[in-house]
Assembly symmetry: C2
């Protein structure tokens, strides 16, 4: 990094972008951090390209001058992905925010990377189609692809890896490539689309995405359901998945999280025991059948108190509350910061893994509410930490490490959906072993100058 | 390749494998070709490893001596994938054929690469679970992963890309890596699993696979249905997919293919007009509802003659006949060889693409029955060619080229499921443009000695 000629880079880019290259303090500050609890670092400048060609010129220039490039969506990442830890040029894609095509017959859309998930669904509303991946934040699709994001209905409709058909990517040297096509499947060559999905801006910048759409369900039913304990809730879901119930959403919230939900959403008033938040999609008869089957399983596991959200606005309120779980959890300890884990394990191990994670949190004296995408085996501890206490922060890091080791012990992964960023690189060798070295080989082959989001995901020697 | 020290390689491998390294003429001959209509080439020897460690030793040795390595499943590939065009050691995985784990709670299985799809489903029968990907041949799972295979129920359950969770791979230098995990999703690092799925043995040898399983459907209904023309059949399916009908199988057979089916299956006796072969999975009520919705669409498009296969043995006979479509098609012209195309286009373009492909075949004077995985936009022309006629073969190649160009013109791909092998490399630059060079970059980075299945998929300078 020491050889980067930042000044020369900025001079060239200013010619290309004019006022759309900013070095203003508030802009730099805004791009110095994401939602993770990490030390902010300022970029040297922020570029706001409007076209793929501009992105290409930025990368060509940065490549020539060895200048780091940090792709930036909306700043909602959770592992310091967009912190410019070695300085450089942040490329903010917010002005590339057009929905370029909606192909209703083919159930796909072509979008620019700065389009957000809510924006896309608003533009789709009249078509009867929907884009399904829904992380908590209203993230950009470029960012979601870069972190291989998922959400509350991944159990039914998949992650970004399952929902991106094709990409346009600008490589570190400025070359523009297209990966995949609008065909639904292909055996034509290496799967470059999946290589860039989840690459966290370390291999290039995504400038266009073709994503799958689905028909809005004919009928939707949503409910919350209380359980005496976490095992009962998890076991209910395991059985439902085994018998093939096509649950559209099935989210676990532990008793602590429910307490936070009640504080943050004063109208909610649900009992403070473990809950499932559920949604069923299908025909009217199909949904009724799913609900009946699921209710039988709930009864067998001591669950009760189905609270149905029948009106659209009630459902929206329910899922908005779920999407705001992070803030609800933080309301358990006002002034605290949240440190979030993101393990994912085989579902048969989820209950045991969750209980041991809760025990670890208790042993270390933390309030740590849990939400879980239980159908995927993915759960988040929100560890509430006093930002003024180095001791607490140190213990929180110990807890994160212990929980991550637990997930690996159970054959899982340290990240179900948030990604690695700067925060989780230390776990990759343990998780991937020799395969981690291969990731470094790929990084070196595609980005030999190590300009793309350096210090994230892969650690080069 | 000229520097390969084949003799030294064979001497070392004979020490490692004993009689499981064969240079017998009939063994070499058996491994000289696949199902494609290409010139056979003998390998120098065939290795039959039984363990990952043996595969590692083979690759270490071949790597040291610059000796080509051709991974071999069961020889059912369709683009000359396993033809040793530069000689070398064929690694036949047929002795690595154990189902290692069936994790019923997690709906996954861990298998060795020589396990075939029929074998796996037989071993699963008692569990109530199934593995879904079903190419025509009873291929090995290692081979299916290597070519990113799919099948008749991909429209509902996905391709190998969607059904492989994790791999063990031996890299060209003999290093053993594990990609992915048994967790259902992960955002932990580059997606190496998808990189090896579809890499056609050019990056390493798959020695273990973790694959997704699904519950066997509670209720199944299968039928054939006749249409006045191809457009009506295709448009019926497009509408069904748009309204979200979860068709489990929907296969198109044109009038010529139906004629072949009747010759090859004398009991079939179906009218020789375009047909859909269909299957519906779900609860009893759910299947009834799907059938009702689909039948309404069929009626609107002039379809008729639902022939229901209600008994399991009737259904098996129906799908066996579909899986044997290749042989049925060839029976239209006894003694002819089949040259198969494998285009896949956005479904909205399928009807037009199919009709133009049929016209091209007619213009060039070929009998070319068509089957199509119509829900995916994927179709196969089976071009029937007199093996003694160089002229016909030349014209068949022209037809393949014209059809492939058509697919690209429609925004599709030259291979939906068969892969590239030796046969389709010339189309990759046209399909992928600059992205094809990136595939070469990846190949060079992972296999710098170019020992892995050289001459397939990527063309190195």
């Amino acid at each position: 990094m020491s050889n980067a000629n930042i000044e020369a880079t900025i001079a060239v880019l200013r010619d290309v972008l004019g006022e759309r290259l900013s070095t203003g303090p508030s802009i730099l500050d805004q791009h110095s951090h994401d939602e993770a609890y990490t030390r902010p670092v300022l970029p040297d400048a922020v570029a706001f390209p409007e076209t793929t060609e501009e992105v290409s010129q930025i990368l060509k220039t940065c490549s020539q001058h060895g200048c780091p490039v940090i792709p930036y969506g909306i700043g909602s990442s959770l592992e310091g992905h967009i912190v410019p830890i070695h300085g450089g040029i942040t490329v903010d894609t917010s002005r590339m925010n057009k929905v370029l095509q909606v192909n209703e017959s083919d159930l796909d859309a072509v979008v620019e990377p700065g389009v957000t998930r809510v924006q896309l669904n608003e533009e789709l509303r009249a078509t009867g189609l929907m884009f399904t991946v829904d992380p908590g934040a209203d993230a950009t699709l470029g960012g979601m692809a870069a972190t291989r994001a998922s959400g509350t209905n991944t159990v039914r409709y998949g992650t970004m890896a399952d929902n991106v058909l094709a990409l346009e990517v600008v490589l570190p040297d400025g070359q523009i490539i297209e990966t995949g096509s609008r065909a639904r499947k292909s055996s034509s060559g290496y799967d470059l689309t999946h290589l860039f999905v989840g690459s966290e801006g370390t291999l290039g910048i995504i400038t266009k995405l073709t994503v799958k759409l689905r028909g809005q369900p004919e009928h939707v039913a949503a409910a919350t359901c209380a359980f005496p304990d976490i095992e009962s809730a998890v076991n209910t879901v395991i059985l439902a998945i085994q018998i093939g119930l096509p649950l559209a959403r099935v989210e676990l919230l532990d008793e602590l999280q429910m307490k936070g939900m009640n504080i943050y959403n004063p109208d909610m008033g649900l009992p403070e025991t473990p809950h499932l938040f559920l949604e069923f999609h299908g025909s009217e008869a199909g949904v009724a059948e799913q609900v009946e089957s699921f209710a039988a399983l709930v009864g067998e596991h001591g669950g009760s108190d189905f609270q149905w959200a029948t009106k659209t606005e009630d459902r929206n309120r329910l899922w908005q509350a779920r999407h705001n779980a992070y803030y609800a959890g933080r309301s358990l300890r006002p002034g605290a910061n949240g440190v979030v884990t993101d393990c994912c394990v085989p579902i048969s191990k989820l209950s045991e893994c969750l209980m041991r994670a809760k025990d670890l949190a208790a042993e270390l004296g933390f309030l740590a509410p849990i939400v879980g995408h239980v159908g995927d085996g993915n759960f988040h501890l929100l560890i509430l930490v006093d930002p003024e206490s180095d001791d607490e922060l140190g213990r929180a890091k110990d807890l994160v490490e212990a929980v991550n080791m637990l997930a690996l012990e159970f054959g899982g992964t340290v990240s179900g959906e948030h990604g690695i960023g700067a925060g989780k690189r230390k776990y990759l060798v343990q998780e991937h072993g020799a395969a981690y070295a291969l990731m470094g080989t790929l990084k070196k082959a595609i980005d030999p100058g190590n300009i793309m989001n350096p210090g994230k995901l892969v650690t080069l020697n």
